[in-house]
């Protein structure tokens, strides 16, 4: 189930979405900001973490990302972008499914969480989070 080629496929789709967003530029600008997870990985730190901590980080990140992209979905976007958004959401859902099948505990971060990172919304969201995913 945990086939890296599947994840690679998701990552490639995220690349495409990001490229499309970047090309869109002004037409796709969004007024509001999105909360997105941090994607940095320090391997030394990661090695030191146990499975629960890792699971927590991954799951909360997925959750936040899902929220952000879903909020994008609500706003009116072009058809091309909409397809990308839909693809990203479905991909995240798939990843969550994979994690569930691997018995990785789910985690929903508290809404008032301290991590309020804002990223470049339209263009870099996918890219940043996907790089996070690729690590996973």
């Amino acid at each position: 189930i945990c086939d890296l080629s599947v994840l690679n496929h998701f990552i490639k789709e995220a690349w495409d979405a990001e490229a499309a967003m970047r090309a869109c530029k002004d037409a796709c600008s969004i007024a509001t900001n999105f909360t997105v997870p941090l994607t940095r990985v320090d391997f030394d730190v990661w090695e030191a973490m146990n499975i629960e901590e890792r699971a927590q980080e991954v799951q909360s990140g997925l959750h936040v990302l899902n929220e952000a992209i879903s909020s994008l979905q609500a706003s009116n976007q072009t058809d091309v972008l909409q397809s990308h958004i839909d693809a990203s959401i479905s991909n995240i859902a798939s990843i969550r499914q994979v994690l569930r099948s691997l018995s990785i505990p789910e985690y929903v971060p508290p809404t008032s969480g301290g991590e309020d990172k804002e990223m470049q919304i339209v263009s870099s969201i996918s890219e940043l989070f996907q790089v996070h995913i690729n690590f996973l």
Binding site: L4, N8, I11, K12, L38, T39, R40, V41, D42, F43, D44, K117, L128, V131, H132, N134, F135
Partner: protein, 532 residues
Amino acid sequence: KKMTNDNLNKLLVFCVLFCAQKTSIVHGAQALETKVALLLHAEPENPKCFAEGMSDLTCFWEEDEERAGSADQYSFIYTYQNENSSECSITALPAAGGKRLYFCRLSQTQLFVPLDIRVFRDDLLIHNRSLFIEAVFLLDPPANLTLTSTGMQGQLKASWLPPSLKYMGDSMMYEVSYAMAGSHIGKVEEVQASSELILRGLQSGTKYKVRIRVKLDGISYSGYWSAWTDPVLMETMPGDLDPLIVSLSLIISLVLTLLSLLVLMSHRRFLLKKIWPIIPTPESKFQGLFKVYGGDFQEWLGHSTGGLWLRPTYFYSEEFPVPLEVLSEVSLGPALPSSALPPKASEALGEEEDEDKKLKRVDPALMEGWRKTPQEHWTMDQLRAIHQHPAPWTQSSLLESHDAYVTLNAQNHSVEEPLDDILEETLPLQVLFASGRTSSESRSDLGSVQQSSGSGRLSSQSSFEYPNHTWPSKGPGYTYMAVADSGVSMDYSPMSSNKIDDIGKGVIYTNEYKNEIPAHRRPIGTPIHFAF
């Protein structure tokens, strides 16, 4: 002494360790040198940075010696996204070509976040760059590249040790370059996330040079191509004959051999005649005629001891030659190789080219006496009887009487004499038999006979040769004649005028007989028909 021994031991151990470290340091330095060279070539931006492992980063930039400052003049400031800046310590190293390199090395890194780098020289920004560390991997080349034989023709198996990086094994891409040893033109094969590759389509029994390099595939991680490994040489398996080809070629050659044998066997006689033609020579009958006197018959006669046929009376008789009449044609048994001919006949009908000239010199008068011995006579009645009953002669009837008869063989004897020569030098046998004349007339130029020229060759045999009543069958190309004694004169009227039929084919003359003895055309060789 013990103390000195211990000291010496310690010194020895220290030296060994030092040397070992030195070699590793040397190796490391060499690796660094190659990577620097690679990046200087591959990366346009400054500073050039590369990651060798999961949590390191090495950055450097190049400056000319003249304009270069000391290391402390520079400052390397790096900032992860959403974090505070940090500084990296700089080391300067001399480089080839009058350059200086400035290095910065980070031992703890964060991946998947943008990293901002700024280089200052005396508070002046000289370089600025933003990068993702997971995108600038420059790995060491794979280790332990080995070539083995797969056991099959034209194949080699290359195997190597992938760089030992956690989580990245599946993201590694390899490029295997192989070429014939000594050749510069090589092929390249890519393989993903593997530690071996089978090279196919190689030439058998050839030495191949193989090398490999590694790069990250670019989906999760990416970077630059590593340096090539040192080439490894290996010879492919020696060429083996494809069993299918061998068997097929054997079968084909067998079939061809059989076919050729069949052809040879079916044309055995024909080929035998061509390859080993029967050349009757009269030499045995004329002792020393050709060897001693070179064919000069007169001279030979003068010196000879004489023979059965050499009675001077014959040669000087007034009698005229008896014309020969073909009474019928007889096809007899298988041909026997002819031995010597009766002298007169052979002289008349000598076959050898080189004997043509000899024959020319033969006195035509000699030919008039084409005789047999007295005891072998055909009576007129006998002849007439045969004449009236033109049944083909059977072998027994022919041989019942020990008569002399001459066989004239028509043989195809291809010789490259021009036709003109034939006509000039050799007269067709027709001169033997004058057309429209009776037997009383004599023809003197019996001696010359048309010889080889691609035309039929005449050979004659005497009945003397076959005392046992075995008549040699010369095949269909022969006509047989009974020679009558000169005492009998026969009157024959020709059927038609002589004509030399298509000399090109070699037919000497054609004729039809009044007595309606059929003159069969022979398929092989040229038929001889005699005119009267």
